[in-house]
């Protein structure tokens, strides 16, 4: 019987032609957009996490106890030699300095990093190819703020460990482009050996970035902030964005369901004679109701197929090419990439299919209930109003 219902439902839908396809189109839009939006959010989430990990967090930070990233005054004393038993970390020494682009004084953070490191994405290989005495790498934002280009020199003044002033021109050997403002704004990256030489703080580090092989054991004088702790804030923002966008697709789904509902009402009205005929031929009313419900929910199956036809290539394309995003203010600590690569997970797709199918079935059922109350004779005559 169920098989018959499907067959009849299918024939009816195909018979209705254009209108069916319009409904299917709307519903498939809903499908595609829900999946698209969630994929975008997941992609953004992954990208922000990946970028933050790749550029800044690594697999966690081992920080000197005296160092507080939010208190510049702690930089003076917040460093020490990292115990030799600590393995699989890239030490970073942070010191303060001033640069003087065109007679203006700008405070900067000097960050020393190993030339050979591969823990974070700062393009330190530029140090190895440069012949400059003080090769420096900066980010886009810093370059813009100080109006510096690759090859430019700028006067830097700093103090060594004894407070003795030193000053020299540094040469910008590379400018990197990152979504993570916190490794860019107001910062100058130097080879750590150079910074050690400049400050006399040989082998000292303010913090150390762990790589994937790092295993944490408590070390006196140092505290470890894990990757997960660092990502917390980001996760919050992403989940907030997800809630925000869920309202969007609830609205979109609502309109698609309204279209199905509307079509059901229309078809039940138009097909009174048909309904009367089914009953006259011996179908129970419940069976007819089921037939119409199946017909309605079949929209979602068709929508799925149609959605797949244009959605899958679209998703594959977007997944490969990414979606251009604007370069916005990064002040809020969110890393927003200029390209986001959406992720379309199985869970997302199956979840969306279930959501759309179930809700389409429900809205198809609602008007179909009316059939149960019809007078078959009047229905057969087409005289119901």
């Amino acid at each position: 019987m169920m098989k018959l219902a499907f067959q009849i439902a299918y024939k009816n839908l195909m018979g209705a032609g254009l209108r069916t396809w319009l409904n299917v189109a709307v519903l498939s839009f809903a499908f595609v957009i829900i999946i698209f939006f969630n994929g975008l959010m997941d992609g953004w989430n992954r990208q922000s996490r990946t970028d933050s990990i790749a550029w800044e967090y690594g697999h966690g930070h081992l920080q000197n106890d005296a160092y507080d990233p939010y208190d510049a005054f702690t930089l003076q004393d917040g460093h020490a030699e990292i115990p030799s038993k600590v393995k699989n970390v890239t030490p970073i020494l942070v010191q303060q300095g001033n640069i003087y682009p065109e007679g203006r004084m700008m405070s900067v953070l000097l960050k020393g990093i190993d030339k050979e490191q591969g823990t974070i994405k700062i393009p330190t290989e530029a140090f190895t190819t440069s012949t400059a005495q003080f090769p420096a790498i900066i980010g886009n934002r810093m370059a813009e703020a100080a109006q510096l280009k690759v090859g430019d020199q700028v006067l830097l003044r700093w103090r060594d460990k004894n407070g003795t002033f030193d000053a020299s021109n540094i040469t910008i050997v590379d400018i990197f482009d990152t979504t993570v403002a916190s490794v860019d704004s107001g910062q100058i990256w130097l080879p750590i050996e150079t910074l050690w030489e400049m400050t006399g703080l040989h082998n000292h580090a303010t913090l150390a970035i762990a790589n994937s092989n790092y295993e944490h054991v408590p070390i006196e004088g140092w505290n470890f902030e894990s990757q997960a702790e660092m990502l917390q804030n980001l996760d919050d923002i992403i989940s907030m964005k997800k809630y925000s966008s869920s309202i969007l697709y609830i609205l979109l789904l609502a309109i698609a369901l309204l279209a199905i509902f509307d079509t059901q009402v229309l078809s039940i009205f138009r097909r009174q004679k048909e309904i009367g005929t089914y009953i006259a031929l011996g179908m129970t009313r419940l069976q007819v109701v089921r037939l119409f419900t199946v017909e309605g929910s079949m929209y979602s199956f068709l929508a799925m197929i149609v959605g797949c036809i244009y959605g899958i290539p679209l998703f594959i394309f977007l997944n490969a090419k990414g979606i251009g995003m604007p370069q916005a203010s990064q002040e809020m600590g969110i890393s927003l990439a200029d390209r986001i690569y959406p992720i379309f997970g199985l869970q997302l797709i199956v979840g969306t299919i279930l959501l759309v199918t179930i809700s389409a079935t429900i809205v198809s059922y609602l008007p179909a209930r009316k059939i149960a109350k019809m007078n078959p004779v009047l229905a057969l005559k087409g005289k119901l109003q």
Partner: protein, 424 residues
């Protein structure tokens, strides 16, 4: 004719109620979606406007050039004069002064000697006048973790984590040590009234918020201000309007010869927000387009349904000798009327809900693990002028189009068959 049709619409509920309800729901949804999109995309922009950029911001040219260094020595003088000028010449905006400053917070022990110290990032807001709206704008009250907002001179609120670091309690006194606009040393004692958490580490670990008058006195900035922020009274950022305002202002007051003359910057020109604004526009246009398309299909259906329902009626009218063209026109006109009624109703409902969401919003902080972030945890929509007409496009056009398509059937009917059909 219209009157006649209106009577028909009102009296024959069967031909009006369903379409009107559907149009109203559809139009309402369109309006709501559009308003919600404006609100959602406006999040970051709005956040920037409220905390940082205003809809427009006025600084001296010299200050603007060095604004990262918080150069209060380059502040705008005669602030109240400028505020008056702005109120008079640009009454459609609300103007507030803000001063940012740096300093050292020194916490005394019981003998008045230094017990703890820490560098503070200060922000002075107009809290006392009661007219600035800064409390609401910056979300101060609801971001308080302990205590209350400053009510009188000499009171301050401090970042919550900062207060813990300095081991401060409500009611404790601190001395702020900094330098005035002229570079002199300056000291001022504040009583801690509250601790605040915005959700950004930088602020929670270092912010000190005081009233503008306290800052002006302390920083020797009597009648001077670092920044004047302007907010459109409508609450919604309107690029063309703001462009006009800033162009006029800069033409008149920005002097090439005087680096201390003021310059107005629109939100768009600050913090790289231009591309984000463009993006938001494109995205919401795309969404609204898809939605309008979907809505049109729904209403087209409704139009068809209306036409089909009255198959018999038209049959009788044809049989009675009415011309096909006349029936068709009356049908379309009726669709226009129903479309308008539904759209008006839907727009009202949509705007009402949008307004509710704009004022009250949906609080999702409960769903978030750690609801301490500068990103708003209340989802809001935003009423824009476009909401008042956006629903009419699918509401009227699609309804009429649907009816027109359905009505074509009239021309296909042959008189010979009419009686045959009517007999059934």
């Amino acid at each position: 004719m219209i009157q006649f049709l209106l009577k028909g619409i009102i009296r024959d509920k069967s031909r009006s109620i369903l379409p009107i309800i559907i149009i109203a729901i559809g139009v309402g949804l369109t309006v709501l979606l559009s308003g919600y999109l404006k609100g959602a995309f406006g999040d970051i922009i709005d956040q920037n406007a409220r905390f940082e950029t205003g809809h427009v911001k006025i600084m001296t040219q010299a200050y603007a050039e060095n604004k990262d260094q918080v150069p209060n020595d380059l502040a705008l003088l005669d602030a109240s004069g400028w505020i008056d000028t702005l109120h008079n010449e640009i009454p459609q905006m609300q103007w507030v002064q803000r001063i940012k400053f740096g300093g050292l917070i020194d916490v005394p022990d019981k003998d008045g000697n230094t017990r703890a110290q820490g560098p503070a990032t200060g922000m002075a807001l107009d809290l006392f006048s009661g007219k600035s709206g800064e409390n609401k704008r910056m979300n101060l009250e609801s971001s308080l973790i302990t205590g209350a907002l400053p009510k009188k001179a000499g009171e301050a609120i401090i970042g919550h984590d900062f207060s813990e670091k300095l081991d401060l309690k409500i009611g404790d006194e601190i001395t702020l040590f900094g330098s005035t606009m002229n570079g002199s040393m300056t000291f001022k004692t504040f009583e801690i009234k509250g601790t605040i958490k915005f959700g950004t580490s930088a602020m929670d670990k270092g912010a000190l918020i005081i009233d503008l008058t306290d800052a002006q006195q302390m920083l020797d900035m009597e009648n001077a201000t670092g920044e004047i922020l302007g907010f459109l009274k409508s609450g919604v950022y309107d690029q063309p309007e703001v462009d006009n305002i800033s162009e006029e202002f800069n033409n008149e007051y920005k002097l090439a010869t005087d680096e201390f003359s003021p310059e107005m910057f629109t939100l768009r020109e600050q913090n790289n927000l231009a591309s984000l604004l463009d993006y938001a526009d494109v995205m919401s246009a795309l969404f609204v387009f898809i939605f309008v398309l979907a809505m049109s299909i729904v209403l087209w259906n409704t139009g068809l349904l209306g036409g089909l329902r009255r198959y018999q009626e038209f049959g009788i009218r044809l049989a009675l000798g009415e011309s096909k063209g006349k029936i068709y026109r009356s049908m379309v006109l009726e669709a226009v009327l129903i479309g308008i009624i539904g759209s008006v109703l839907g727009t009202i409902i949509g705007i009402a809900i949008t307004y509710y969401l704009q004022v009250v919003g949906i609080d999702i902080s409960g769903y978030l693990n750690n609801s301490s972030m500068i990103m708003p945890t209340v989802l809001r929509s935003k009423i824009t002028p476009s909401l008042f007409y956006i629903g009419f496009i699918p509401g009227v056009v699609a309804m009429v189009f649907g009816t027109m398509l359905a009505g074509i059937g009239i021309y296909k009917r042959e008189t010979a068959n009419l009686f045959n059909e009517l007999e059934v």
